[in-house]
């Protein structure tokens, strides 16, 4: 009995040692894999990086250097690729029928993931007119939605942002300025300016390029003088801009491959306002909204 117990204890000790050995040998490999270092021959690791794309329209095709990598769906709405060679630029493009193509050159850095939101709007964005009068009634009955939106256009909401820019020399009463989630955008002639009002180190992606973040910069120059600008509903990295008779959606991005998509062409009287998370457009007496 004693002999059996001794044998059993020895066996258990050997087994324990084997498990400890497995732990000691395999853990460095798992940790290396986790931080992005891939095995490259015996006892050698090479650093890798990754790319993460999000905010896709459903059913988009994602291409990496021209090769189809994924088709997004309702559940998998993002794209992540890792194990990429660092200090190398990759050509990412997103395609979906009926939508503007999105394309960006993204540089990968060692052990880091470069993130980018995808900005791809339909090529033709339906404009739904809000009638001035309700159709179908014998008497002309004024459409209350038209009246309400019309009033908003005539008296845009004024917000005093001066406290947010107390240290600035800019005269904000003279320019378009919009602040959303601590991101401020304003126009300066043809340029869209952007500033991060939050804490340093907490900058959203649009303020950064290759993980270097700036708190204020010019992010885009438009074909003409900017008359008005605001954030696209639901996003802080896309700006809606009125230039002449055209309305554009512009991606805020430090990268040169930024996207500019025309979303409406009207007359010289065209104007827009973001109201109830919609882009309402007033063009003369015509009022309507874009179905994005």
């Amino acid at each position: 009995m004693k002999e059996e117990q001794k044998k059993n204890r020895t066996f258990r000790l050997i087994r324990l040692m084997a498990f400890i050995l497995v732990f000691i040998i395999i853990t460095p490999f798992i940790v290396s894999y986790a931080i992005g270092d891939m095995p490259d021959g015996w006892f050698n690791f090479r650093k890798t990086g990754g790319i993460y794309l999000f905010d896709f329209p459903n059913g988009s095709e994602v291409y990496l250097d021209g090769q189809l990598k994924k088709t997004t769906n309702f559940i998998q709405r993002d794209f992540f690729v890792k194990g990429l060679k660092p200090n190398t630029s990759y050509d990412l493009s997103v395609k979906k029928e009926g939508y503007n193509n999105w394309n960006k050159i993204i540089k990968v850095e060692p052990n880091l993931v470069t993130e980018s939101s995808v900005f791809s709007l339909p090529i033709v964005i339906p404009f739904t007119e809000v009638p001035q009068y309700i159709v179908g009634t014998k008497e002309k009955k004024v459409n209350t939605e038209y009246t309400k939106v019309s009033q908003v256009f005539s008296k845009p909401l004024s917000v005093d942002y001066s406290k947010d820019f107390s240290s600035s020399t800019i005269n904000f009463s003279l320019i378009n300025l919009v602040i959303k989630r601590k991101s401020a955008i304003w126009s300066d002639g043809r340029d869209i300016m952007v500033r991060w009002l939050g804490e340093k180190g907490q900058e959203p992606l649009m303020f950064c390029e290759n993980h270097v973040c700036r708190t204020e910069s010019v992010v885009a120059s438009l074909p003409g003088t900017i008359k008005k600008l605001d954030f696209l509903p639901g996003r802080t990295d896309v700006v809606v801009v009125l230039v002449g008779k055209d309305i554009y959606a512009v991606e805020i991005c430090h990268n040169n491959s930024k996207i500019l998509q025309k979303i409406y062409t009207g007359t010289d009287k065209a104007n827009f306002i973001i109201y109830n998370d919609n882009i309402y457009i007033k063009d003369g007496v015509k009022i309507g909204y874009l179905e994005i």
């Binding site: 732990f23 986790a34 992005g36 993460y52 890792k82 052990n111 907490q202």
Partner: protein, 517 residues
């Protein structure tokens, strides 16, 4: 030989307040230690996740892999233990014992009860009648409480009348309420009952203490027919029969067909842990129903009366009393007990939580052990060091490991800030944690097999046709149960001990469908 340590005032210390001066301070520090280290671990994880998320994530991944290996490691113990139990259940113990002289051995069975139903008591007594042992050599001790309801006492008297003649001796004791230096509970009750039985039965009938095997059961403990034969065989072949406790495997399946899934999973997990511990006898302390020679427990001074966890404390009492010359021998033989069951699912969940917290209150043994090791110089240092490490690691892992695995792994992602969020490791961390948890859960296949092998026949009045299927799929609840009925009650108990909010003995309500009104 009478131990010196047993004569000291430290031997029966229940809590820091039983001591004075520097000894009080030392004991208090030891009470604080398990909870403090557990909380420190969790707080440190949050702090490190904020300040050095990258290194913290590496640590978490390494820990997850360690936990994954630990799961495999324990699965091997579970499998080995299960095989031995299966063999023992099929063994002809009477034939095995035929080589020994054993007919002189008495089995003393202590059944403490409080306000349990008559049917529960009778089922336990019936299992003794059905056991393969000369009934004339069985001493049944039905240990009641004075503070119980009058109806219960009346019922117990009827039970005594019904069963008294079926055993060699039947003792009914009523533990007086409000005794000084006692905590109402199982420990004080059975300590009183066994002393009374010693005087009234053993001494009066001239039964030698060496010839009596005491089984301290719960009132719902049902013995399998071969239990006493198996126990006696283990006692007779033991190298140190009077310096050994004998530990069966508690299987909580008396009412398994009626119990809800959470109760079944938690109860089975407890059984599995005990099965694994059987394979590591050097780490095994007594738990719940256990057996020991009367002489041994008499020399140890019976169970401690001023604590909650008397079942494990008696092992530490004995270890200190016999200057380290003490051990628990696994007998790889099951005894069946009730799982938690209450009239509603919520009440069941509350009872499961309270029972787990009471078990986790076993943390009160840690200061007792370490303090005893400091005071008792006769125990070899390395044995003290080993046992202290085992107990401390057990308490720490009980209260923190599942929280680290299932919750804390997300902390670097939540608290690590934007700089960390752009790292490859921040993307890989949740995937690796998830994958390791899934792989670890594959070990549950073994859990399903083992738990099904202990499944008693379906009661004739059990209507639900899908219960057996649910018993397979119930194991997906493990990530939930190990936190809610594992780490949290353990942390709760350790925190109470840390702040000196001492717990009393909570009697688990026994309920079986059809028995309770």
């Amino acid at each position: 030989m009478e131990s010196d340590y047993k004569k000291t005032k430290y031997y029966r210390v229940g809590r820091a307040t039983d001591l004075e001066g520097s000894e009080y301070k030392l004991y208090r520090c030891l009470e604080i230690l398990p909870g403090a280290v557990s909380w420190l671990t969790l707080i440190l994880l949050a702090v490190l996740s904020y300040f050095i998320p990258f290194y913290c994530a590496i640590g978490i991944i390494a820990f997850d892999f360690y936990w994954f290996l630990k799961t495999i490691y324990f699965s091997l113990y579970l499998r080995a233990s299960w095989k031995k139990i299966q063999i023992n259940l099929e063994t002809d113990w009477r034939e095995r014992l035929s080589r020994f002289k054993y007919t002189h051995i008495h089995q003393m069975v202590i059944l403490p009860f409080y306000n349990e139903d008559r049917e529960i008591i009778e089922k336990s007594l019936d299992s003794l009648i059905n056991s393969d042992w000369n009934h004339k050599k069985i001493i049944v001790v039905l240990a009641g409480e004075e503070r119980a309801k009058d109806d219960t006492k009346k019922m117990a008297e009827e039970v005594v009348e019904k069963y008294a003649k079926k055993f060699g001796h039947f003792v009914y004791t009523i533990h007086p309420a409000g005794q000084p230096d006692e905590m109402p509970g199982k420990g004080s009750n059975i300590a009183y009952a066994i002393e009374k039985t010693r005087i009234d039965v053993l001494d009066k009938n001239g039964i030698a203490y060496e010839d009596v095997l005491v089984s301290a059961f719960d009132i719902d403990t049902i013995v399998y027919p071969g239990y006493f034969l198996c126990l006696t065989w283990n006692f007779l072949i033991s190298e140190h029969p009077y310096r050994t406790s004998f530990q069966p495997v508690p299987v909580f399946n008396n009412n398994i067909w009626e119990s809800p899934a959470i109760s079944r999973v938690v109860a089975s997990s407890g059984s599995f842990w005990q099965m694994m511990q059987q394979e590591r006898p050097e780490k095994l302390a007594t738990f719940s129903s256990h057996s020991v020679c009367f002489k041994t427990i008499y020399d140890a001074g019976f169970w401690q009366k001023n604590i909650v966890s008397e079942d494990s404390r008696i092992f530490w009492n004995s270890l200190l009393a016999f200057d380290g010359d003490y051990r628990t021998t696994p007998i790889y033989y099951p005894v069946s007990m009730d799982g938690n069951l209450a009239p509603t699912l919520w009440q069941t969940a509350v009872n499961v939580y309270k029972q787990q917290r009471r078990w986790a209150w076993g943390a009160e043994n840690f200061p007792y052990i370490v303090f005893g090791f400091i005071k008792n110089k006769k125990i070899p240092f390395w044995r003290k060091f080993y046992l202290t490490s085992v107990v401390f690691e057990g308490l720490w892992s009980w209260s923190t490991n599942s929280l680290i695995i299932f919750v804390s792994g997300w902390l670097p992602i939540i608290l690590g800030g934007s700089a960390f969020s752009y790292t490859v490791i921040s993307y890989n961390l949740p995937v690796i944690i998830r994958d390791m948890a899934i792989f670890s859960m594959l070990g549950l296949f073994l859990a399903v097999l083992v738990s099904m092998s202990f499944l008693p026949p379906k009661p004739a009045d059990h209507k639900n046709r899908f219960t057996k299927m649910f018993m397979v799929f119930q194991w997906v609840l493990v990530p939930f149960t190990v936190i809610v009925f594992g780490s949290i009650p353990a942390l709760d108990a350790q925190t109470r001990l840390m702040f000196g909010k001492y717990m009393g003995f909570w009697v688990t309500p026994k309920h079986r469908a059809g028995l309770n009104k």
